[in-house]
Structure formats: C-alpha cells, structure tokens
Symmetry: C2
Subunit: 365 residues, 2 copies
DNA sequence: CTGAAAGCGCTTACAG
DNA sequence: CTGAAAGCGCTTACAG
C-alpha cells in the first residue's frame, strides 16, 4: 500500500490534448489488397515469407490508403518501446538552461545512438517526479537529480522497468553512478583556506520543485560535508562567524542577484564559492558590475567545469566533474539491465580541482 | 509507392535490446482481489464507480503484486501518447553540443509543461531521419533542421500525426515556423562591407548525415542569398576574388581548425563570418592562438546570438535569432494541430543585427 | 455497484 | 506461400 493511501490515477492520460483518429489499419490494407492481416504484417516484417507479387499488391494498397503500422500497437506486441527515459527533477525549460544537462545528455546520447533508441525526457508531472513514472512508455529510466527519495524508488520498482540512479543515495540492489562530491567540496574549500580566506560565502542551488530542504542531501549535501571537513582543519565550521550559506536558483541570474545583495551587506566575504559554474558566471558578472576586482578583492570558484568556466575573464577555478562520462555510464548500465544482465553495477567517479585565475590570496585588510 | 521501392521494415523494433517480461497484469490483480478486470480499471480511472471497499481490496492486491497499468496498453486504447516528438537532423550527441538546441528545447519545454506532455528526442535511425518517423510513439512531431525534403514530409503525412516544420521550405498546407535568414545574412555582410572589408571568408556549417550538399538550402542557403545580395551592391559576388566559402563542422573545434588552415594561406581574409556563434568562438580561439588581433587585423562575426556571444573577448558581433520563441511557437502550433484545430498557421520571425566588439574597419594595407 | 464482451492495432505460432 | 485464431494489456459501452 502506498504510504499516503493509494493516489487515484487521473481519469485520462496526462496531457490536455484529445486524440486524433481515422487512420488506416492493417485490416483496411488487407481488405483492399485482398489478403489477410498476416500477409500485411509479413510485407513489412518478414518479406521473405510472402511472394513478391503479393507484397507488391500489399504495399500498393498501403500506399493508396496512406497506411503506416501503428507504433504503439507494435510496442504493445513487442513488449518493448525502443526508448530510454530520463527522469528529470525539474521542468525541461530549466533543465535546458543548465549546461550540466547538455553534457549529461551528450553521454546518454552516445548510448542511444549505439542502441538505436530514442530518448524520452520526463519532467515532473504536476510538480511530481512520482506521477510521471507510471505513464512513460520506456524500456527503462535513468534517474537524474533525485536527491532525497520520496517514494520514487518504490514507484520505479513497481513500474517494473530497470532504472539507474545518478548521484543519489542508492539502495544496495540498484545500479547507480555517483561522483565523489565530498572530496570535491573538500579540495575546493581547502584551496580557498590555503589562500588565506576566512570569510567565505557558499552559494547553494535550490533543488527540485517539491523538494523542500530538510538539511542538505544529494551531491550538494556531500559537497558541504567535504567543505565542513576542510573548515574543521582550520578550526572553522559551516556555522562559524564569517562563513555563510546562501540559496539561489541554479542560473546565471540566480548567481547575479544573490551576489548583488550579498556584497552590500556589512560583513562581506573575501571568497564566494558557487556550487555550479553557471551560478559562478553570474557572480563574476555581478562583481564586475560593482567594480569589484577578481581575485584581488574577492575570489570566486564554481563547480562542474562546464565549458563556460574557461570563457569567463578571469577564468574560473572549479572542480571538474566527468558529467558526460556519467551520462554514458548510466546509459550503459541501463542498457545492460534492459538486456537482462541482472547485476547491479555501481560506479563511483572522481572530480578534479582545476585552479584557474578567479581565485587568489585573500586581501590583507 | 515510395520513390526507391518500398523499403522493407526491420524484422524487429529498432534498438538492439530484447524485452523483459513477467509483469503483473490487471487480470492478475482482478483474480487476486476476486473481481473483474473492469473493476480494476475503475479502481484507477473512475473510483466513483466502485465501492470504497472493493477499491481497497483491488489496490491492496495491486500492491501485493507490484502492479502498475501498462502505459503502452493505455496509449493504444486512448489513441494518444501524451508525448511530443522532435525530429532531429543529427545524433543527440551532436545536438546537445549545440547551444542553439538548448534554446530551442527551452521554448518547446514551455509547451510540454503547459500541456503536461513529455518530449521524445528522435535522432536519425541508421543515419536516416526517414526511418525513425514510423517508430516514434508520439502525438505529433516538431521537425527541426530539415533542410531539403528528401521524402520526410511524405513520410510524416503517411504517419498520420500532425507536424510542424521549423526553418524548412514548407509546403503550403503544413504549419511552419521560419526565420528571415535572408535579411540576417544581408545585414551582416552589409555591415562588414560598410567597414571596408573586401576579402571575406564565410564559414558554413555542414548539415545532417545523409544530406550531401547540392547547392545550399535551408537557413544557410537563405543567409547566403542575403549575403550575395549585399555583395552585389558592392559589385561583388560569392564567387568573386577575395570571397570564399569554407565548410566546417558546427562546433567550436570546427571553427578552430578551419581558421588555422585558412589563415596560413596566402590570400588571407580580413573578415571571417561564421554562420553559427559556436563556430565563431572557435575562430576567435584560433586567431588568439596565432597572435592575430581582433578586430584590428581580422574581423569576426557569428550568427544566432547564443549566450556565448557575449562571453567571448572581444564580444561577438552576430545576428540575434529568436530561437526560444521559435521552439515555443512550433510547440504551440503542434499542440493546436493535435487538438484538431486544423488551420495551418505559419509564422515568420525576424532576426536582428547585434554589433559588438569583434568587427571593425578593415585594416588599410 | 459489478461483470462479460468487444475492441484499440498489431504480430506470430500454428495449420494448411 | 497464405490465413484463421489467439494474444499483447488495457478501457469502456452495455447489460444486469
């Protein structure tokens, strides 16, 4: 029984659009060609089993009627869809603004290519990742950005198709791909501390729609654990004086706005660490517009090493994440699971600190 | 009859993965709960029609068996899929590298959100846009990057779902969204000519896989028509001395490599016009690595006005294209067509010349 | 309030 | 080489 009592399914398929009709079926073609539906099917799927003449008649009839085999009916019969699903934590609009996903999809795309499959983007339905799961016609899911499991794993199990968790806290029997975010967070903060910074603001990205914060979990949480470890080595902590946590949306604008208000406060930080490059770009913009020198007055760091990190001036110090490899691995694991290879592989990927020009010694005041 | 004789369908669904089985069906649930399949269906789709007690028994049974209604069977019954298809001219890998598509999908994503639909990315199957059309379980297609129609439109018609053409040369009875690429090409080249440039190289992006060039068509062709018009006003032409056309892949690397070989030739251009910003970024990289000043020695322009255009140093002169609006409009038109509103709307969007810092007066030699 | 039956459109043993 | 029949898993008039 589902936790909150079984949620009634919507009376119709999701999506507010009605259906269209009037298509020719294999029966129509069979009638016009004077053969059985079996023959029509053979004409498409197993031409060797009927005579060339019959096939010709059938295809001519099909052409006259504008017939194409219905793909959904084929899927039902075949028991497979030929499509990979990606379960997304945010709407497509937001996902597409984030270069992280472009890299991730690039990796997934390689698998689609190899397997000859299509890719179905599954954003939350009515604000819920849970609700889209039963409706997606896919052979399996790659689950991206599931921070805290709010029943999604149970729903995925019940759905009965294989799935791979990416950067979550996966149960033991589920294939998964993870990144060592804790070490990344540690190294980045240690780098700042080594440069003498003691007043640091962490810019955190908000997570999915129905995911109110209860503590910090997922990749962000693990980065903060690493950050705390580095701080502790200097007798600091996340709640120490001078250290602050600020939330913003994971966009350039989010980083921009946050920085503007941040830098007008009394106790300015000497370093800003944005946990996504795209936010860090906004931070740089804001500082430039305020006439604040980077890194002379304020150091800035990002996370992910997206292409943007090299285009900013100064170039961005960040942690390189193997995002594309993550997508490819997740796709590989999923393809293997769909194939019925029932191991549950796990892979843990490493990040690398990339020091560029946006971080420097803390200003001596 | 298809032009080259009807191509035999593959014997199985595309995709090399077999199917998985063993799921519980509504019949299993009905048996366990001691009711009919009708009742099971009602439990999910129309709870009011059965008693609370019956519903409870059914859902308990469903839970015990790990039952979820099969989405493909539902689709078949409903005659609709709740998903929008995007027909892509290139593999997902390449599409995701191109920021143009991120913007385009952002617009499409807004429509998906509003309609509660998922988005199916349909790259060419075995190198052919044609082949994927019959297999995609979608309520309609947005067709991106179809330059020359090689039967795709006929196949789409035959497929029987609505579709919207973006930046193609659409037949009269097909909904479409276009951009005024000719004017864009004209304005950009006129800008360069006004600055005194007479030796200009045009960097053209290659199109899809099975699309060998026969002349230039599509948006690129129209930009070149505009370019030719501007040239003509100065008594020049695309095949005049000093004017050259070079092809490259539509990536940063493509622009980089092309520029390297370009600038080692005897008759160097004083201006390079890349018909995609992402290529222009590569051009700037290459020139910087060769120690060539922009725009003092060579002017550079792009096309699209992707976010990157503002991040380069110098900032890129380009033509702003309303890419996101294009995606949104295409989605809107498709949604309307699926809904059965059987007009065939067309919209023509304008571009805008955006002059930044990468273009300047031609050097006086 | 509940169930037997038909049907969505296809494919595939099986029998001829 | 060809066809009648069963079945993929669901939903929905229709009848009780």
């Amino acid at each position: 029984m589902s936790p909150s009592g079984p949620e009634p399914f919507p009376a119709t398929m999701p999506g507010s659009l009605p259906n269209h009709t009037g298509r020719a079926t294999s029966a129509d073609v069979a009638r016009l060609a004077g053969v059985s539906r079996t023959a029509v099917s053979f004409a498409y799927n197993d031409p060797a089993r009927i005579s060339a003449a019959t096939r010709g008649r059938i295809l001519a009839a099909a052409d006259e009627l504008g017939y194409t085999p219905n793909p959904v009916a084929r899927m039902l019969k075949a028991g497979r869809t030929g499509t990979l699903g990606v379960l997304l934590p945010q709407d497509i609009t937001q996902v597409m603004q984030n270069p992280y996903y472009a890299q991730f999809f690039t990796g997934l795309g390689q698998v689609c290519e190899r397997e000859g499959m299509t890719l179905l983007l599954c954003p939350p339905l009515r604000n819920s990742m849970l609700k889209v799961i039963p409706y997606a016609a896919v052979d399996g899911f790659v689950v991206a950005g599931l921070e805290a499991d709010r029943g999604e794993v149970a729903e995925l199990r019940r759905r009965g198709v294989p799935f791979v968790l990416v950067d979550s806290e996966p149960p033991d029997d589920v294939p998964s791909v993870e990144t060592d975010d804790e070490t990344g967070g540690y190294e980045l903060v240690k780098h700042l501390l080594d440069l003498g910074h003691r007043r640091i603001t962490f810019l955190l990205f908000e997570s999915g729609p129905d995911q109110p914060r209860i503590g910090y979990r997922g990749p962000l949480g693990r980065r903060l654990v690493g950050a705390a470890r580095a701080l502790k080595e200097c007798d600091l902590a996340l709640d120490a004086a001078g250290i602050s946590l600020v939330e913003a949306t994971c966009t350039r604008a989010g980083g921009y706005t946050a920085t503007l208000s941040l830098m007008t406060e009394a106790d300015r930080p000497t370093a800003i660490l944005a946990f996504s490059d795209i936010m860090a770009v906004g931070v740089l913009d804001a500082l430039q517009s305020m006439g604040i020198q980077v890194p002379a007055q304020v150091s800035v760091a990002g996370y992910d090493d997206q292409p943007e990190a090299e285009w900013t001036r100064p170039k961005l110090t960040t942690v390189r994440q193997p995002t594309e490899a993550k997508g490819r691995l997740a796709g590989d694991f999923l393809a293997a699971a769909i194939r019925g290879e029932d191991q549950h592989p796990r892979q843990r990927l490493q990040g690398t600190l990339v020091v560029r020009d946006s971080t420097g010694p803390a200003p001596t005041s």
